[in-house]
């Protein structure tokens, strides 16, 4: 599958939400823990060799689950391949908890759920749709439920 790699690399240079050196282990059998610079930017987790400017790789953080594996270890698992775990070893429990929190909140779909909640609550309390004043109340991405498949064109 093609993707706009140059632009993603450029994205990896933007100010991160969170960045740290962590021990990272890939999902394949035989992968070992390696020290990586891990950066969280929008809904991507970029990982770098600690002395390099360009990322080795990126993980899109959608349709994934984050779990506490141990005191200082968390894992990311993608729902289409639940047996494959990416492991991250932190330097402290606190750091581990913070990373888990940050990764969970780093998904577009998570933000969408928040938005729907706020929109609904504001409407319930005020009788007004808060998005109407911005002219975006009909935008698909803000709908309460768009679970219907698109009709054939």
């Amino acid at each position: 599958m093609r993707f706009n790699e140059k632009e993603l690399v450029f994205l990896s240079r933007q100010p991160p939400e969170r960045a740290a050196e962590l021990g990272m282990r890939g999902p394949k059998k035989g992968d070992v823990v390696k020290r990586r610079l891990v950066k969280l930017i929008v809904n991507f987790l970029f990982y770098f060799r600690t002395d390099e400017d360009e990322p080795i790789g990126a993980l899109l953080l959608e349709q994934c689950r984050v779990e506490r594996e141990d005191d200082q270890v968390f894992s990311i698992v993608f729902l289409d391949e639940a047996e494959r775990k990416y492991l991250f070893e932190c330097d402290s429990q606190e750091q581990c908890v913070e990373w888990i929190d940050a990764v969970v909140k780093a998904s577009y779909e998570f933000m969408r759920k928040n938005l729907i909640y706020y929109r609904t609550e504001i409407h319930r309390l005020t009788g007004k749709d808060p998005l109407e004043q911005y002219g975006i109340s009909d935008e698909t991405r803000f709908q309460v439920n768009s679970g219907l498949p698109p009709p054939p064109t």
Partner: protein, 293 residues
Amino acid sequence: MSARSSAVTRERFMQRHVIVSQERKKEGRKTRSKETIMKLNEKSVAHYATCNSPPDKTGFLFKKGERNTAYHRRWFILKGNMLFYFEERESREPIGVIVLEGCTVELCESESEEFAFAVKFDCVKARVYKMAAENQAAMESWVKALSRASFDYMRLVVKELERQLEEVQEEARSSQAKNKPKKHQPQVQGATFSLQNAAITGPSQEGVSSRENGVSWSKPTSVPNGVSEGCVWEGDFCGRGDGVKPPPVPPRRKTNGGSPESPVSPGTGCFSKLHEWYGKEVAELRIEWMQSK
């Protein structure tokens, strides 16, 4: 970086490229002629495209090829900040994906295609993705959808609504404390440009995209628990009482100090202003288009 260390880095990249191409050959895939330096969890990304989470927009568009300058008809699926394209509508896997962060969407002149637009990125040697829709309405609809697809945009909208909800809740609490009947509903801060936006879109065009993609918001009739017919609530966020805790705050992206405010740069914290820009941009594009015809 010193000359020596950049040489070392370059060597490592080449080594990595060799490893990546060997792995790809093992998987039975042809190595692209362009060097692939960075890995991506491609399988899971492709899964995101086709899984049952609802897309934000779908449709056919003509896309200009990378090497071949002809326009090819592709099936597009927009989900969040990811624009996937498929060879056919029935294809199970996307040919590719365009990550829509740090880009602008513009109309463009094309000798061969009407209703053409381009997705441009703000980085050195960035590729320009040229696309064309099948008609005026589709083009405008796609341009709008793509220019609002970034994670940053969504984050701004969420932050704004979170702020508004806090205001509303604070108002409710203080009027309860004073034990006075509420004379008016708490005012929600408005933006001044919304008329402009309404002029562009109009109900008929918005209607097209809402119908295409699902149920649009319908005003709840007053029901005691706040849940109305016609809306299905996701997850746990049903209209509960005031005691419910709002969901955790989405992360705020730290920006470089002094970054100029522009529609593209994420330095804009002012929501109304950002919307004004989006609205203005679309209005200007429309005028341009009308004049060029």
